[in-house]
Symmetry: D2
Subunit: 391 residues, 4 copies
């Protein structure tokens, strides 16, 4: 426990209308020591107290005596019991029958469902009537990720949140080192990308990274794939001012024509197969046999046939690809970065790259406390990363 976390815990108790008493505080005398605090939380309202206790787990604070978990059946499909335990993205354990059971794949803002074989995190849209749902704050504890001294050496900028002020070249090198370490450990690297990858001219650098095996999985929307394919088919550079957040200009009919071509083929992979699509990031992913999940949004044209138009199905497809991901890098997309941040456990390091400070500060605001933001130029960043990894 660090003093910052302590401050947040005390703030949250007051904000929820509870009160606290610090019973003991053993703040390691020197900075490398571990700290322990015992704090009594009180509230007149027992339901509120339960919610405060759940809330504090976001900061890694557990009850001294958590007791046993209470289970209650979901009242109907897609609905939790009223006092369901709302999850954090931390590693979590649930105590059933005096045994602590590890929860599979932590994810924030879900419920916990106990089955014969274990305890799963379940989003509210996926719960079924009569599923056994953990309720209240009893019998649940969370485990904060331990920042190892050694890994801190490798990836030291992780200690601060937004890193535009740090020497940029050093940051790129640290990310490259982390990627190599993750690959060496047999884990997968997840990329989340926006259309700026194409507009800033960084697609060739990213293609090289795909070919070299540094892109195991890609999450994106209709826009990245469309502009990548449009660029491959028509050679157009869209002239978008992405730094201004302008997104993708309309009116040029190239993009809707590119979408129509791929729809005629049936899928991006079919267009690669048929020889229609011969370049770009999506072509490289297909050729490398690496999976991608494209999820639509209400502003999409088309969309491409590979795009999940149902966002909840899209989330399920993303979730299904997360096992064995060891590192996530998010490039120039606010929507898909936050969507991915919502799904990722806190134990997976993630780096967000954007020229727009709002994107990179937002992940941390949304609960992805492990997010590192780097405010930089997408095009120059990817070129330098490719140089670090491949030269």
């Amino acid at each position: 426990m660090d003093t910052g976390a302590l401050a947040q815990i005390l703030d949250d108790v007051l904000e929820y209308g509870g009160d606290y008493r610090i019973d003991s505080l053993d703040l390691g005398r020197q900075h490398e020591d571990a700290s322990t605090a015992h704090i009594s939380i009180s509230s007149d309202d027992s339901e509120l107290l339960a919610r405060i206790l759940m809330r504090l787990q976001v900061h890694g604070a557990n009850q001294l005596d958590p007791g046993l978990a209470q289970l209650r059946p979901a009242p109907s499909d897609g609905v939790f019991p009223e006092d369901f335990y709302s999850t954090t993205n931390l590693d979590t354990q649930v105590r059933l029958d005096d045994r602590w059971i590890d929860v599979e794949q932590p994810e924030m803002d879900c419920g916990l469902v106990a089955t014969a074989v274990g305890v799963r995190t379940v989003p509210v849209s996926d719960v079924r009537a009569d599923d056994q749902v953990v309720c209240g704050a009893s019998g649940v504890r969370v485990i904060m990720p331990v920042v190892e001294a050694k890994s801190a050496g490798d990836f030291g900028f992780m200690s601060s949140t937004v890193s535009s002020e740090k020497p940029q070249a050093l940051l790129v090198r640290q990310i490259a080192d982390t990627m190599r370490t993750v690959k060496a450990s047999g884990k997968r690297i997840l990329w989340v990308g926006g259309p700026a990858i194409v507009h800033t001219g960084a697609a060739p650098a990213m293609v090289k990274l795909v070919e070299a095996g540094f892109v195991d999985l890609l999450f994106a929307g209709n826009a990245l794939a469309t502009h990548d394919i449009e660029s491959a088919l028509y050679g157009t550079s869209l002239g978008v001012d992405l730094a201004m957040g302008s997104g993708v200009p309309h009116g040029h009919e190239h993009h809707i024509r590119a979408i129509n071509c791929i729809r005629a083929e049936g899928s991006i992979a079919a267009a690669v197969e048929s020889g229609l699509l011969t370049g770009g990031v999506m072509h490289a992913m297909v050729k490398a046999g690496k999976p991608f999940v494209l999820v639509g949004s209400v502003r999409d044209d088309g969309p491409l046939p590979d795009v999940y138009t149902d966002v909840i199905e899209g989330q399920r497809a993303m979730r299904a690809q997360l096992p064995n991901v060891g590192f996530a890098i998010m490039i120039a997309t606010m929507l898909h970065s936050i969507a991915t941040g919502n799904l990722l456990p806190a134990s997976i390091p993630l780096v967000s790259i954007d020229i727009n400070p709002a994107t990179v500060t937002k992940l941390a605001d949304r609960g992805s406390a492990q997010a590192i933001g780097i405010i930089t130029d997408t095009g120059l960043f990817l070129e330098q990363l490719s140089r670090e990894l491949l030269d």
Copy 2:
């Protein structure tokens, strides 16, 4: 034709790789006069020439002799013929059998399908195999909206694009006047809103506007409705820095609990009916019997039971509500503003209000040339608008 449009036309010809010759130009000698230009466009490639001619219609430029429209059947469901005519959002006419037929409900980036009863704009996802689709650039003409002198007097700031520099109080008054005029003419006012309406404390002002009949239709996402309902159920103010684009912070379990409550009721209207939901914007819409369309995104939690999780179905639901809309006001949402801008014909005036310049400049970039952007504070703006309209 103004000189700015002429410049854009010539630029586009060059950008697409064509060439031009100005045959005649009669630029009204004084500023109130109409202008006419005859320009010959040439290209070695006839397919490219057709695409240049389509492209120029975005600026209101038609062929001198457009000929007859060519129809070709759609090769399969969800696929246009390769050389389909890609629509603008201008009023459009198609010449079949020597008759000019008005196209229903113009929308950009769609195709034109001819049926026994007329010509419709159809998005690519909705075309069916063997639908008769207009192909090439022949037989289509567009009509630029005429800015009437009288309406310019009422709504004079429409001449510039982004208006943060104009006296703000005057702008609010002009929008209020426009709304009264639109209502008096029997047309409907469409609102498109983001969660900042709740976070800036502007929900009470908006509720008053709903009750007074100035909100006929609301397009939004899961976030606006969730935070509005959360605020009504729990009284929480989320403390989001929206000006920084931070969006909605996670981790507070209130929002997921609010969603679960409404899911248990079955719908927002059911929650109003049952007496669970007694305040806020969504409550006011239900009480006033006014429709709303909520469309989901990949970063949503829940979502609320009223939310379209399929974005293409969501677009269809939005499109179905557009007839008789006479004015659109978009408040603090980039995603839903652009989505709506994509669907709206150019003849419907629209105003976009946001503290973030990127949002308000983006609509125009995307082809919604009629968009007026005002960079201002959502909370103070809505309060002042409510004062102008209701006091």
Copy 3:
């Protein structure tokens, strides 16, 4: 001492390369209790240790036994001794001959000069050879401003830094209440303003506030005064997109012509006297007999005859006006807000209003920890403030 300050202190020690040991920590058991920590700081380098101890005073941390202050003569005009004590903006006391002496008018990044009559803060440009300058960290202590429970009730949003998320109307009311309280206590209100006051159409609202006595003192640059006067002389509205940070467009010759007119008169006051200047903010200040300090910048045209072209003399003129200021409000100017923040003691509350988040977050970054930022529209804000104070 709150836990946040403790975290910052420990961070700073490590960042400077020192080490710490927490000897005792008595963190009030409940949230209203005061806290005390005793921390041992160590470093191999005694000069570094002195600098760490100075640095920690920024957070209100004093030495347990500060000893006596050391004085050393300034080696020459405009130069401090090498190990001079670098000031904070907190109330400060210096121990000379066993007596603690209050330092007059605290200001950050200055030196402390002991004279026969007391101890003054002196900026480096104003020190004279042989002035007796406090050196090292001994014999100096600082006093954190106490946030009184009562004033927190009146001005409760002071607890957070940037407040765009708070209901805007409430914030305006709180500022109005604070202004009335400050005036009732006989203190002066300092305004710091940028040209956006003119461009957003807020000048009439500000004129009313000047006439009603709520503007005792104005700090600004050449731009605010020039555009205010230009607007009064030529009726021009400049059409600047200030939200985009675009500043003041050139090329319109009105502004240089306005400057030339006032130069011909000799001063703004002379132009009011002669009847040339009959409206606007500067006219109102002259008529009300209230002082203003205009300081130039390298990008100025002209400038107006009242503008200090020497920035150090400008700082002196600003400093001379600070006594008895009880509240500072900064509107839409980054340069002059920071300049003023540099000069103000931490005990004077200050509010910064800007549509650009960068401006309002920057004051706090620069050490003006008491700064409250509100991200909002300048025009609507001033109109609402004037309504709150005057209606």
Copy 4:
């Protein structure tokens, strides 16, 4: 004349309250042809008419029969006659006694003073009583810079204003090529820089460029030099979030201590001479014998002894260094970029690099129409530029 310029001319006439009639317009039939327009401008007010005619020269539009220039004496020091001709930054000629005389060193928003030896641009602060000042719009013509086909090939991105959307690596290469061409032609390269050069870790790359002779002249403020020197003396990296526009954090006493050290030495050059200052950008400039002009601002601490504290004197010092500058590159500073843009003739190409879109769009707004903006990361940009030029 292009159609865009024509549109602006007609707009300006209307905005000033005049009226126009297009007498003839010969718009080159093909895009490479030159165009000519004859337009009659009318106004009831002859003074207004003169001001409209001056204003139109900003767009390169001259009177068909300009007549002879009128001269009138300046009424006193620092004051122009009321109807003085307000300059553009275009190459300008004045007709005296039937001869067209070239004006030395064009600069916007100045007056024209005729002397025995020619005609000079004079800022209002430098005019002396009885100087002969050109008045009204007669007898003055401007010459638009001709964009040569060849140079367009070398530096083709000049055609658009803000270039974040263009492949970044290509942009860097084009700037490098331009710099080599400028140096080969014997002209000088002017750099204008902000402290982000230090904070993004780009100082070593810039030092290499200084040593290689690509930095002939540097304009900056106290901040760049202070943080560069602080970094050289103390090794501190300030941890500033510049992308957020946060500027330079206060409270760290390093910067004021660094300033004091250099003040003790007397100047930056003296500190290099004495061996105190052994690295960084300022050290490299001194060692290379290249001039720099540092101009202060009201928010400065110290300042360094080399800083002009009088901003008008600072402008004079900058102006004195401009002859033979052939290219200007501006890095991450809004204040000094605009200040320099104010002084530069339109014939000198300039590129502005910043991660903040506001900075790069502002130069053009202020009349520096030749400005090219690139929204990118300062650190990665300088590293890549140094690689292009030196490897």
